[in-house]
Symmetry: C2
DNA sequence: ACCTCCTGTCACCAACCGGTGACATAAACC
DNA sequence: GGTTTATGTCACCGGTTGGTGACAGGAGGT
């Protein structure tokens, strides 16, 4: 009868380990309990069932880059420039952060393949963060009345996310080598061009003349 | 001792049915044989093992919209306009075709979640088709020297694909309602703006003045 | 008629899945 | 000290997975 909280922590940690090492498919009562060095019946006692465990993991996890991280990573040390630069920096920060976090990738993949389980909690959490981010971007973008910033952000971040997930099992996508830094450079540059083309300084320069 | 080819066909058809009705997760020797009304040992005799069956299904399937379909659906009845209009039309055709084909979605999802199985064959097939399409687009686009058309196409089609897969398990993404036609209208319009902003007629109009 | 070969049927395997009931044991309270 | 209560252990359940060996039966060749 040592430490209930300790055991709970070990179980939750095991979920994170499996997620980042074995992937979404490795999640299961038997595997989690084995990895945590704990009897699986404790999972049922402390979390109800497997979905309950995943729900708790998803709601309490720090597996996802916070909006503050992204903004910080995005702004760097120079003063806030135009909205297009901010958007580009945010998206770059997003994709770089995501490329480093295998558990975030697995979570994303899990949300894609099946609803119910851990999907809802983590999806809701990220949805809220993302919506905040978009809202902040809309506020700082004068062209928000002209273009649908939310839809643009959704489409571009979705594209980056898909290519990231895709890179896990495939080496190329439409001829782009998404397993190399060179390929990701092309992707980032294309993203930058797209953003600038729509809300970028091209048009601002035009207004200046 | 009736018809070996008939049995093979029934098995392959069962794979397709499961894919479109139960999803990628429903694929399995037992399930396939049950649905085909056939003993599962025949799967091993005729296809070696499960990966072999999936490989054969993926290589022989017509589950994927051909490039001709897309171009046809894209061009409609007016003469080929600018490259940006063609690109927009192609992407719209792609996403509409994909939204209708649940088996294509499942295949895509399967490629994302695990390599090896049916992923390689179908991925290679689509990769080839997609690369052809991009190549055709590059040829018809005078701005191909200025912008990386392949990277743009990859990013945008990836974004559309992700949102499509996402809509299967989630209702919203970054505040966009991806379960409604209204939300998809916003996505399509955003995509159109992005393409036009980079290789669009905005700039061409500018040149006319 | 006989023998061979191929198609199809059936029972079975070990390993896994999520989940449960019975029981030991150690701490906490009286 | 004795009793209660919560923590942890163990064996087991039915059902699923991918995969295999033995055998029936019908078609074709001789």
């Amino acid at each position: 009868m040592r430490d209930k909280e300790e055991t709970r922590k070990k179980i939750l940690e095991a979920v994170g380990e499996i997620l980042s090492e074995e992937g979404f498919g490795g999640i299961g009562v038997n595997n989690v309990s084995r990895r945590a060095g704990v009897d699986k019946v404790l999972i049922y006692r402390y979390f109800g069932d497997l979905p309950g465990l995943l729900r708790e993991f998803a709601s309490g996890g720090d597996y996802w880059p916070s909006m503050e991280d992204l903004v910080e990573k995005a702004e760097g040390d120079n003063r806030p420039p135009g909205a297009s630069e901010l958007a580009v920096a945010l998206l770059k920060g997003y994709i770089r952060e995501l490329r480093d976090s295998t558990s975030a990738q697995e979570l994303l993949l899990g949300e894609l393949v099946s609803r119910n389980e851990l999907s809802e909690a983590s999806a809701r959490k990220r949805e809220r963060q993302g919506a905040d981010l978009i809202e902040a971007l809309v506020r700082s973008a004068p062209e928000a009345e002209r273009v649908d910033v939310a839809a643009l952000g959704a489409l571009l971040s979705a594209g980056l996310t898909f290519l990231m997930l895709r890179a896990r099992t495939s080496e190329a996508y439409l001829g782009i080598d998404i397993s190399s830094e060179e390929g990701w450079g092309r992707i980032e540059r294309a993203m930058e061009e797209l953003v600038r083309g729509v809300m970028g300084d091209d048009k601002l320069e035009g207004f200046q003349y």
